[in-house]
Amino acid sequence: MADTVGEITPAGEDPSRRDFIYLATMAAAVGAVGSVVWPLVDQMNPSGDMLALASLEFDLSKVADGSEVTIKWRGKPVFIRKRTPAEIAKAKADDNADLKDPAKDADRHKPGKAEWLILIGSCTHLGCVPTFGGGDWGGWFCPCHGSHYDTAGRIRKGPAPKNLALPQYAFLSDTKVKIG
């Protein structure tokens, strides 16, 4: 390119000025194309109303001891489980077991609310919904590819890489929880 530029550049003019113009034009073109393409790509991301559906309140008095309610939050199932003392003890006893994704039971629930285990009910492998009561650890079992979770929702066996995720939530009162 320098040769060509040299031929058509009048004597005494610095060829790097023309290079600068080429580069600036290219940069402007890339910027322009990028700014047109981005809206076409970004429109696929969650829309405003989808983001606005981010939180919901749930009345805990409906859940009996040792039972579980599944609610839909952001299109995903959320397990609200009222654990029995036996389940809690079992989960605590395994705190130092050989865990794939190490976590203490105390970090899996809110302080002083060990009976309430609130989890996103979506297997961390490929997103199927695990069922409670199956599996080798008395917790959840995923029917799709055989992941076993314990009574704290921690992954113990199978292809899933992580523990069942915890949603953001807060207790508004003893019987009311806000998820999201």
Binding site: N45, M50, G75, K76, L126, G127, C128
Partner: protein, 433 residues
Amino acid sequence: MSGHSTYEPKTGFTRWLDTRLPIVRLGYDSFVDYPTPKNLNYWYTFGGILSLCLMTQIVTGLILAMHYVPHVDHAFNSVEHIMRDVNHGWLLRYVHANGASMFLFAVYMHMFRGLYYGSYKAPREVLWILGCVIYLLMMATAFMGYVLPWGQMSFHGAVVITNLLGAFPVIGESITTWLWGGFAVDNPTLNRFFSLHFLMPFMIAGVVILHVWALHVAGQNNPSGIEPKSKEDTVSFTPYATVKDGFAMVLFLILFSVFVFFQPNAMGHADNYIPANPLVTPSHIVPEWYFLPFYAILRAVPDKLGGALLMFGAIGVLFVLPWLDTSKVRSLRYRPTARVFFFLFVLTCLILGWCGGELPDNMVFQVGSTASGDPIGLNFVWLSRIAAAYYFSYFLIVMPVLGLVETPDAVPDSITASIMNHSAEKKGLAYAG
């Protein structure tokens, strides 16, 4: 295009048109006068059958789109409305749904044929790669189409497959959120899958044009793998190939009709007649039959990212196949050792398909039990691991090494010589047919 055009416009209008837009000439040169090797067998009819499949899917799909509603509240019911209320709706839907299976069946036949006769080898690499692109587009289209009825299998199939992309580190979650248009598979996902499912067949049609173009530049391969050397080696496309293709299409349509009219749900899954419920996953979730081998490879790996990568790699390896095969002989008709490995490969694909449909911990056979009652024997995870190992070895080890070490049979001088050599032909037919 090969050779000089022999088209001569006969009427005033075609002469006038020919100097302005030689489209009749293009059609004549491509589908009438076009020379085809005279030894093409019935394995070579799947190309024509595939274009018939594509047209069938596009026509029935366009009509179904007039009655289908891509919304989570209406999708399932609109499909039932098509089945029960729309005039001939049941026929259109069954043709479209079974048509997908027939399409994939034909494409697998077409691909195995290409593998057997070395149709991917120089100078047909681009032709082969374009075919791989078509196959990828077909898989994406079939997957999205299966989501549209919004039954339990549709929904949870979509969840599992889109979550595969979440396996990629760092960017995985942003990709799935972007793809879903939310935080789970939901209405935006269904809506965009419908849009893309509508678009992709036309993309396929575009790549098919490139595929046929590349075919006409390189010329067709043939069962002997020898390039035509004289006019004696070829016959004109019409009537020879058109009639042969047409007859094969009739046979294919008979098979197609058996499914549409007598076994319309044989390829489907009963759970897909249950409306999608995001809160409950069916106890046994399987993809459609044509994805089972890849699903088996996915599950053969205990690691999420590793499984996803290996599954995509199983398709990716096809793209570089032309450079993995080191043999100087094109057709397996003259490579007796390679033929054994090829049939093992076909068997492996079938075994992977079988594994993909079974639960990983189920036993293939059992020889006893441990003290704690666990069965001893071969389970489907291990069978799929063995099969997946051979799948990749075939491309990455057998193809490069065998081409260098084997001693192929004598290759005839020409296509005509291969036909005249009766014993060689008989042998070839016995293996190929």
